[in-house]
Symmetry: C2
Subunit: 337 residues, 2 copies
């Protein structure tokens, strides 16, 4: 396994105090849920470590300020803002999807109840707004508008994802539309919000956003690949996890679009009402293989990764930050968890 | 029954096009849920009328601009913003409280499912932000900051309300703290956001916010009174509705603080696990009467209404708008539904 890029640790170190100061302003009932979600404490409120995410979005935000030649601290309110919005969507999505586990720990609603977890998510989207409005300069207002627009798009993507449930007539274009909203919009915002805050040139902001958006689709394609073919000891999830939950992930929709019996078998698998047994999972995996679903999924990841690379190549950016963005992108696409 | 103040109809007429233009920008899946919630369409999306709220908050917003001598249209983004935030909290609260009915119709989650209703709520809090940021002037940014702060307070109040569930050791001070956050904060914002947008003097803004906040407590005390002693043909709810749901409303917490057997009987009623039968409801109503709970509840409503009146009396406000604010406050406190 390759070591994680240094930019992740550097951004985490810079954004953690901003997140800590922000969560300290929450009502105690809500702060505890948020800090549990971040892995900073256990369910009883005792200090803990681990279990938080990679802080990919804050890292993109920090690098985007550096990419337009400004120091990382110009990006910090945006770095915190994108992470808070991301956590808001995770807290709510886990309720909607009834997911009881995240990053190897019980989800917030499973520990604290549905109502408190929903309130914690609500609090975070408003906290993101407050963190950005602490400075009411035009750059901060523009960054907040961009973040709000991205968050609206994420919500629309989640609603679309819910509307897709149970459908067996979807194709790759439907997946691109949904993942473009649910995942890529916020990564596009993360990869440009630091440049907005640092008042970088419009062309650089646009290229960085496009880079983040392409990276977001690549990220989601890899996520969907891992959800079926990831190694359980790395992902912390059961074998073929997304198949067990009958998620309409990219491998599935890519396979459904194929002619022939294998796609038909997959449709039957998705339509069945009872929980699938191991034999049904094995048959579904065979059907995916017969449809070339794994290769199709990797192809989307590679296509979007190449697009992300191109966005950076053509933009007027500081070389060292550009290299770190590329290193981060490559890490995201090659990750095993 | 007294006729509703003209200001309600006037504000509704002014704010409806702003709300309609805003909801038209939502994804179709979400727009339908929001417009159903507003009573603009039925569950199938067919146009309907009725079932929306009183638009009390937009009316306060409009009057607050007029109170500092500016026309209503200066307030419209704020009027829409407070209503969108209010609807965001209603959509989420109905999920958290598992309430299946609101304003005589099935709640959004009961019709469209939990996930879509939560997404619709999420979309509205972000839509409120977007409506206010459409103009990035300092007045609009200040109004957004005030709205965000109020929304954060509402969420903290809802979390507190959830934390109170099942407790039998609460008193009036706990209720004031919770209702102050959950209800009064947003009414305080509504009653001042128009003045903020119209760049009214700081002293007027502060008095109007204080007025709205006091009115909010009076409003909630009346709501809690109606929840137990309201006439079903007016409220659209069963007799003693809040008792059936064992809500920790003001009459209950006021009664629990009394010494003696009646408060003890009420505690037993609240602690029981099975759904209360009609005999248990009748005994709980007797216990409330023995504790003087109805008078205590009316006393809070009158005390806060008087405080609201005083806030307006001492502030430098346009007389006609002040009169309309007082008329509205008196309508709110005397209402039967």
């Amino acid at each position: 396994m390759r070591p994680p890029p240094k930019s992740l640790a550097r951004a985490r170190l810079a954004v953690t105090p901003v997140l800590a100061a922000a969560s300290a302003t929450l009502a105690p009932e809500l702060r505890r849920i948020v800090e549990y979600h971040w892995g900073w404490c256990d369910a009883a409120g005792r200090p803990a470590s681990g279990g938080g995410g990679k802080r990919l979005r804050p890292t993109l935000a920090v690098l985007s300020a550096e990419a337009v030649g400004e120091p990382a601290d110009r990006a910090l309110a945006g770095a915190a803002g994108v992470e808070l919005v991301h956590d808001f969507t995770l807290l709510h999505d886990d309720v909607m999807d009834q997911d009881r586990e995240r990053r190897g720990r019980p989800t917030a609603w499973a520990v604290f109840g549905v109502g408190p977890a929903l309130c914690a998510g609500d609090a975070l989207v408003l906290l993101a707004q407050r963190v950005l409005l602490r400075d009411a300069s035009p750059a901060h207002v523009a960054a907040l508008a961009a973040l709000g627009e991205a968050a609206e798009t994420v919500i629309a993507g989640q609603a679309l994802d819910l509307a897709y449930e149970g459908r067996v007539d979807l194709g790759e274009a439907d997946w691109v539309r949904m993942a473009g909203q649910k995942t890529a919009a916020l990564l596009g915002c993360a990869a440009s919000i630091g440049a907005i805050l640092a008042r970088g040139p419009e062309a650089a902001v646009a290229s960085l956003r496009e880079f983040g958006s392409a990276l977001g689709l690549a990220f989601q394609a890899v996520d969907d690949w891992l959800g079926i073919w990831g190694r359980p000891e790395r992902t912390g999830k059961p074998v073929a996890s997304d198949l067990r939950q009958r998620k309409g992930s990219l491998p599935i929709v890519a396979a459904l679009a194929q002619p022939g019996a294998a796609a038909g078998a997959l449709r039957d698998f998705l339509r069945a009402r009872e929980a699938p047994d191991e034999a049904a999972i094995a048959r579904a995996l065979d059907a995916l293989e017969a449809c070339g679903a794994e290769a199709a999924t990797r192809a989307v990841a590679e296509r979007e990764y190449a697009r992300a690379e191109r966005c950076l190549a053509s933009a007027p950016l500081a070389p060292s930050a550009r290299d770190e963005l590329l290193e981060l992108a490559s890490f995201v696409v090659d990750r095993e968890s």
